[in-house]
């Protein structure tokens, strides 16, 4: 068993960390956080400097962890322009790949993935946005909620209902929708607790004409495509959690040391540091194990969901503890932002509750743990 990352990944991690430390300036972080500003210039730089190397998923994972250890909000903003591309890669037709994926891969277009609706996000099969066949098109009507990149994305992978089946999820299909189309409106949602550099919006679809060739894969298979996507993206959310936890622990230790040896030697402070670091290590092992299965084309949804919820909870645990042991200095440092950013990890791309249900249902089906 080999626990050390290959040298090329260690070097890649360093490259990304150096990039984040240089580009995530205090001024940029604060501007984005205060004004809920999306850092378009940073997105372009991240692309131009090859920071997200999609030819190697390990690099993506390590890159996300490193970026988020400096600042989750900017880290996510810089890496989500590609949100949803895996659906196109795995299930898109040649037409979709050539027309859309190529643009996104060249850094010329931004993507988003729209599943959640005002009425619910956990119950994916309960969604009500409809896509009704109409000659050469589908007519799409409905609304989506909390959609990342909502007002800045050019293209969305959008899940809609194409038929009413006895099993609700059999009636769902995925589409590639362009934001420039008539009937498509995006309203920016302001006032998020954290990840304020990311753009979040409500989408309204009013008789949007979606050409039939923009159906992704087969009609009625959309639910499966999205679940397959989540089994990939949840690994990257876990990586966001690892980054936040690492950044919080490092900052907390810096403050604890600055408070003097008399403070750093308090055993309760030392216990808190041990507990945070242990959880991070456990979360990382779990995430890397789930990633190993996935990247070897043998995804293990149980491990993926374990990693996603555990890394998210670890990020929240570590940011809370970090604040607790750093007192006023912590309140008055980037730790407060780390904490606000961390909480979203327990909500997006499957809440912790939903992840736990996935884990338990899979395990009960198998009847044993490994």
């Amino acid at each position: 068993m080999e626990f050390n990352l290959e040298e090329k990944y260690v070097e890649y991690g360093k490259k990304v960390r150096d990039f984040a430390q240089k580009e995530f300036t205090r001024a940029l972080i604060e501007k984005c956080d205060n004004d809920e500003h999306y850092p378009e210039e940073l997105r372009v730089k991240t692309y131009n400097e090859g920071i997200m190397d999609f030819t190697d998923p390990w690099k993506v994972l390590i890159g996300i962890e490193e970026l988020c250890s400096v600042d989750e909000s900017l880290g996510v903003a810089a890496t989500t322009p590609y949100f949803g591309v895996e659906v196109l890669m795995l299930f898109g037709s040649d037409y979709i790949k050539e027309k859309y994926l190529a643009e996104v891969s060249k850094g010329k277009a931004i993507m988003g993935l729209a599943v959640t609706e005002p009425g619910g996000g956990s119950d994916v099969a309960g969604l009500t946005t409809t896509a009704t066949p109409d000659g050469t098109h589908y007519l799409m009507n409905g609304g989506k909620m909390f959609i990342t990149n909502g007002t800045i994305a050019d293209y969305f992978v959008l899940l809609a209902r194409t038929s009413n089946e006895e099993k609700r999820h059999h009636g769902l299909s995925c589409f590639l929708v362009e934001s420039s189309w008539e009937g498509f409106t995006a309203n920016k949602l302001k006032g998020k607790m954290g990840v304020r550099a990311t753009d979040t919006a409500e989408l309204i679809l009013s008789n949007v004409k979606v050409p039939k060739e923009n159906l992704i894969g087969e009609e009625g298979k959309g639910f499966n495509y999205i679940m397959t996507f989540f089994n990939i993206s949840r690994i990257y959310v876990a990586a966001q959690g690892l980054g936040v936890a690492k950044g919080a622990i490092n900052k907390a230790m810096e403050i604890v040391k600055a408070k003097g040896p008399g403070y750093a030697s308090q055993e309760s402070i030392q216990f808190a540091i041990s507990e945070m670091a242990t959880r991070l290590e456990a979360a990382r092992l779990l995430t890397y194990k789930a990633a190993t299965f996935l990247f070897n084309f043998n995804p293990n949804p149980t491990l993926t969901s374990m990693a996603k919820y555990y890394a998210a909870e670890t990020a929240v645990f570590c940011t809370e503890k970090a604040l607790e042991i750093t007192g006023l200095e912590g309140l008055n440092s980037q730790l407060e932002r780390f904490l606000r950013d961390a909480k979203i990890l327990e909500i997006w791309e499957g809440t912790s509750e939903i992840e736990k249900l996935v884990v338990a249902r899979n395990l009960l089906k198998e009847g044993k743990v490994s």
Binding site: Y263, S268, E320, L328, T351
Partner: protein, 336 residues
């Protein structure tokens, strides 16, 4: 004061707050507490709640005061903290300094006093930035060479922070161009260590008020919001924690509202329990609200932020735990 009397205070206060504050809580977080609303709080006697009547205050007992803090915190942690700062801190410190003559102006909201939060810190990091409440005020309670002093100050730049919590109250890093000492507390450390147990149940009251509002909101939401064709309240991972939290809340609240004289151990202990509880309860409420819980306009996430800020605002937790252990053992304990 009996339970019925406390309930009476809380329900009449609730009437006032639902009239004057309900619906404006988010605005307070964005733009601060207006002087008009401060005036109303002053008229109600809240700003001088524990100040004796002969000094122009309301002369309320501890239980009534805690009930007020709790009720205010249900709506706005910022408003509750403002009332706590004036009563629990400024009043007690000015009294200690023999400066009661200033109370009239301060407690009516006419004279603002900035507060150097490092007075609570026992392990301040060398060279760390200052963290003042109301940094632009012309008078300040600040730490000067380990002494707590009252000073008349001229502020060059008040500075400001994007705060984790209590955003209705300004925090900043003021640059003082002049500091003229008016009075001081000679044995500051000892005074602060005696003040901490006094103020602890009051901090706990704010924590409990915020926890109560969080739990109530989560309960309401989980009854009306549906997922998988049923209300969220059907799901054990949401319903069980909320039900347990509500029982914990009741016991903590009854402990706080009891007129029984409490030892320092109990006072310090209830603060630890209540502040930690508020974090757990507000986090559970946020989670129950899903994505909506993460958006400021829904008024849920602020309780989580405020609870965490409350946990750090009054000094290092390890220091109050050391005071707690010492009080519990009756001798130096928990010091390593």
């Amino acid at each position: 004061m009996s339970n019925e009397e406390t309930e009476l205070i809380r329900s009449s206060l609730d009437d006032f707050l639902s009239r004057e504050l309900y619906g404006n809580e988010t605005e307070i977080e964005r733009t601060g507490i207006s002087s008009e609303f401060l005036g109303k709080l002053s008229q109600q006697g809240f700003l001088a709640a524990i100040v004796p009547a002969e000094l122009g205050g309301s002369g309320l007992d501890n239980t009534s005061y805690r009930a007020i803090l709790m009720e205010l915190a249900r709506y706005s942690g910022s408003v509750a903290l403002r009332v706590l700062l004036l009563n629990s801190l400024v009043y007690r410190i000015l009294k200690k300094m023999g400066k009661e003559s200033m109370l009239g102006d301060v407690l009516s909201g006419k004279l603002a006093i900035s507060i150097d939060t490092s007075m609570f810190s026992s392990f301040a990091a060398a060279g760390s930035e200052k963290f003042f409440i109301d940094p632009g005020a012309p008078v300040s309670l600040l730490m000067n060479n380990n002494e707590l002093v009252l000073a008349s100050v001229k502020v060059g730049k008040a500075g400001s922070y994007r705060q984790l919590g209590f955003r209705g109250i300004p925090f900043g890093n003021p640059e003082f161009t002049t500091i003229e000492k008016i009075a001081g507390v000679s044995d500051t450390r000892k005074f602060m260590d005696e003040l901490i147990p006094e103020i602890s149940p009051e901090i706990a009251s704010i924590a409990i008020g915020m926890a109560e509002a969080s739990i109530d909101k989560a309960r309401e939401y989980s009854k009306v919001r549906k997922a998988f064709g049923t209300s969220l309240s059907s799901f054990q991972p949401l319903a069980f924690p909320l039900a347990i939290l509500s029982t914990q809340l009741k016991s903590l609240s009854e402990f706080l509202m009891s007129p029984a004289e409490r030892t320092d151990t109990d006072k310090l202990g209830i603060k630890e329990l209540a502040t930690e509880f508020a974090i757990v309860a507000s986090k559970q409420s946020l989670q129950t609200h899903g994505g909506y819980g993460y958006i400021e306009d829904f008024g849920i996430e602020k309780f989580y932020r405020d609870s965490l800020a409350l946990n750090s605002l009054f000094g290092e937790r390890v220091h109050s735990l050391r005071l707690l252990a010492k009080s519990y053992y009756g001798e130096e304990a928990g010091n390593l």
